[in-house]
Symmetry: C2
Amino acid sequence: MLPFFEEVPLPYKLECMDSFLKQYCSSEWQEFINFHKIKKVVEPNEYVFKEKEQTEGLYIINKGKVKVISRDVEGKETLIRLASDGDILGHRGFGGDWTYPISAMTYEKSEITFIPINTFNIVAKSNNEFTYQLMMFFAEELRRSEEKIMHVQVKNRVARAILTNYNAFGPDKKDPTRLSYTISRKDYASMVNTTYETVIRVLSDLNKEKIISVEGKSIRILNLDLLNQLAYI
Amino acid sequence: MLPFFEEVPLPYKLECMDSFLKQYCSSEWQEFINFHKIKKVVEPNEYVFKEKEQTEGLYIINKGKVKVISRDVEGKETLIRLASDGDILGHRGFGGDWTYPISAMTYEKSEITFIPINTFNIVAKSNNEFTYQLMMFFAEELRRSEEKIMHVQVKNRVARAILTNYNAFGPDKKDPTRLSYTISRKDYASMVNTTYETVIRVLSDLNKEKIISVEGKSIRILNLDLLNQLAYI
DNA sequence: GATGAAACATGATTCTAATCATGTTTTGAG
DNA sequence: CTCAAAACATGATTAGAATCATGTTTCATC
């Protein structure tokens, strides 16, 4: 007689690995992980791990701001994503030749938990539900990586990047329309695959159109609706 | 006492789902799948499944040639990949809102095995090793999706597309330098995100440079080394 | 075999964004 | 506080590819 399984819950956001572990691993396995995990503090502008390094494990950000970047053959970098509290880093180093295909670098001093690959594998092979959910998480990441960015004008891509920045690092607590941390024009450029000159021009345009307000390095969102409209079409 | 696990084998190519199932599921589970799977024959230029449809299951190509495409907001299509014998389709429909984010369409009459999502879930939740390996497969797909194509000239992208075509569908058996099936200029265009006019121009250039030979619709590779060089840098 | 549609092909023109050039402001180290 | 380096900013020029326009070939169907 075969067991009956409930429908799979959605979505697989996996915003917080800690709660994910708690949800799908028994308390003894949680203890096992707690015993083997390592806490690290990474200074600003330091690598958490580097492209081509051996995949040693999984990183979870306790507190901090990190960019995930990839360098192409010519050395030009592309910013893949922004990560902060609760986000996972390094899972893209799984499989293949077991090296990280990307690098992670801190923007500010960050507190990061490291789970060695062996620990992870033991947990994964002993907790079916955990592995199943993790498989779904990867499936979700794959879906997300599918998002079409091609043949969309730079202006739209920059708008999207501002929103990504806003969603990843959130608003300033005392001044909620301003981004709590604005990444550099160069980082915007590598995020939308353009040059920093073009980013500056686009930001300047958006500023003139009163969609955002450029205040030195920092950015304030004046019209979220228009920005969203620009970003998603 | 915790079990010891061997190192994870690599790579997770998963070229053939059938052998994958055989490798990681016990014979009783294989029988379970065999009992629940459905054989379908899809005529040329028909959809296997369509974007936005409910995810109903996984497809495995027994014999045939298929393109996987995605349509953006404006209706412009992007060709994501080419698939043939042994390849999996539809796994990107997993997670999120459980709809396929992409469509699959046959080039020629194809024989396809369908595994319903329920069957799949039951197997996944009962075969830890299977699920673990599948998680790694998804991780691999994620790695592959990372490949930088941006800010590479159209010529290089077209060269890459020709090689993709060649690798996916193979050479003509009686004439090994010619592609067994050449996709249309339009499909090349949607593969490299350009217009079909541009594809035609690039093919014409490659023809003049004696790297390929354009013989009507069909393409012959004259200089694989040069083509590879163009494709990968 | 005729015929209309789709695919292939090429030239002319336009436009987006890269590149180059130059200058200003901000930031951080000593 | 000083000074150099990095980041920001803007204008001029160029280049790669899209778009438009037009014609030819191939292919499926009656």
